[in-house]
């Protein structure tokens, strides 16, 4: 089954990448953009989606600094 994991910097943790993007946008003519955050996306195919949570805890995310969200593509809308 296809699974998508969204990993984001925990709230309150400085996200210089997000800030850099936010600063760069106006120069390109994009205004009205805020709260930019950059995280990671992991797509995978797995036999048993139940173990993805555990994978995140152990490897894909660092729970000290990151939040994660698991989305299982059950064929319909993610």
């Amino acid at each position: 089954m296809k699974v998508r994991v969204l990993i984001r910097p925990k709230e309150g943790i400085l996200d210089p990448q997000g800030q850099a993007v936010e600063r760069a946008l106006p120069a390109l003519g994009f205004t009205g953009v805020e709260s930019v955050h950059v995280g990671r996306l992991v797509d995978l195919e797995v036999a048993d989606p139940a173990c993805v949570e555990e994978m995140c805890e152990q490897l894909l995310a660092n729970p000290l600094i990151e939040d994660y969200e698991v989305q299982v593509d059950d064929g319909g809308r993610a």
Partner: protein
């Protein structure tokens, strides 16, 4: 004193660490697949890019077979030094508090910095005086030490932030200017600067030798760290 330097696939500074160690004792390379530590007195996790660090620095390396033995060794009070990537691995493995994030400048930085010894009572700083300044190089892209404010207060109170960047020398935005952090017992030190690259007058400063001298004392005189 016998030191073991762990080589992960993708380690880069393991030979540098080995050469530095050999100035202060015997030293050998431990392969990431090793399950025992060949009886070494000190373990060094070197810098570099273990497993390419493609997911998150240090994230994959901590699952190497050798890390089980290192964890056991550290928990039993054995001195463990994590340099740069090794620091990152130790945090990921939970042997040290906190985490290391990308530098605030978002770029890799290689430069000489000044670091002050905030706690001379750890296995790796006991040959230093409190407040002593060391000139050491840093070279990393993800060295910004992070922990919660409460945790940082605790670490500071307990002397676990053993090394701090001098004013104006913090290269990465580390909280509280933390350059090197120990576990509560003081036998595990992780630091972003590279002491192994500061042991030869020909290639730079020799201040990094202080860390190796410290651990040599620690090994020969016993673990009783002077208060």
């Amino acid at each position: 004193m016998k030191l073991g330097v762990v080589r992960f696939p993708g380690s880069c500074d393991e030979v540098d660490a080995l050469l530095a160690c050999r100035r202060f004792g015997e030293a050998e390379i431990l392969w990431h697949r090793d399950r025992d530590l060949h009886g070494v007195d000190v373990v060094v996790l070197p810098g570099g890019f273990s497993y390419g660090d493609y997911l998150r620095v240090g994230a994959i390396a901590r699952f190497s077979p050798v890390m089980e033995a290192v964890t056991e060794f550290a928990r039993a009070g054995g001195p463990v030094l994590g340099i740069c990537n090794g620091f990152q691995v130790l945090c990921e493995a939970g042997l040290l508090p906190g985490a290391l994030l990308p530098n605030t400048g978002l770029r890799f930085l290689c430069r000489q910095v000044e670091v002050g010894v905030a706690n001379p009572a750890t296995a790796f700083t006991r040959a230093c005086a409190r407040g002593e300044r060391l000139s050491l190089p840093v070279k990393h892209g993800a060295g910004r030490f992070h922990a919660s404010e409460a945790e940082l207060d605790e670490l500071e109170a307990a002397g676990q932030i053993a090394l701090r960047y001098a004013a104006g020398h913090n290269p990465n935005g580390s909280a509280r200017d933390a350059a090197g952090v120990t576990n509560a017992a003081g036998n595990v030190l992780g630091l972003m600067p590279h002491p192994e690259h500061a042991t030869d007058p020909l290639t730079g400063s020799v201040d990094g030798g202080k860390l190796f001298e410290s651990v040599a004392q620690h090994v020969t005189e016993g673990a009783a760290v002077p208060a």
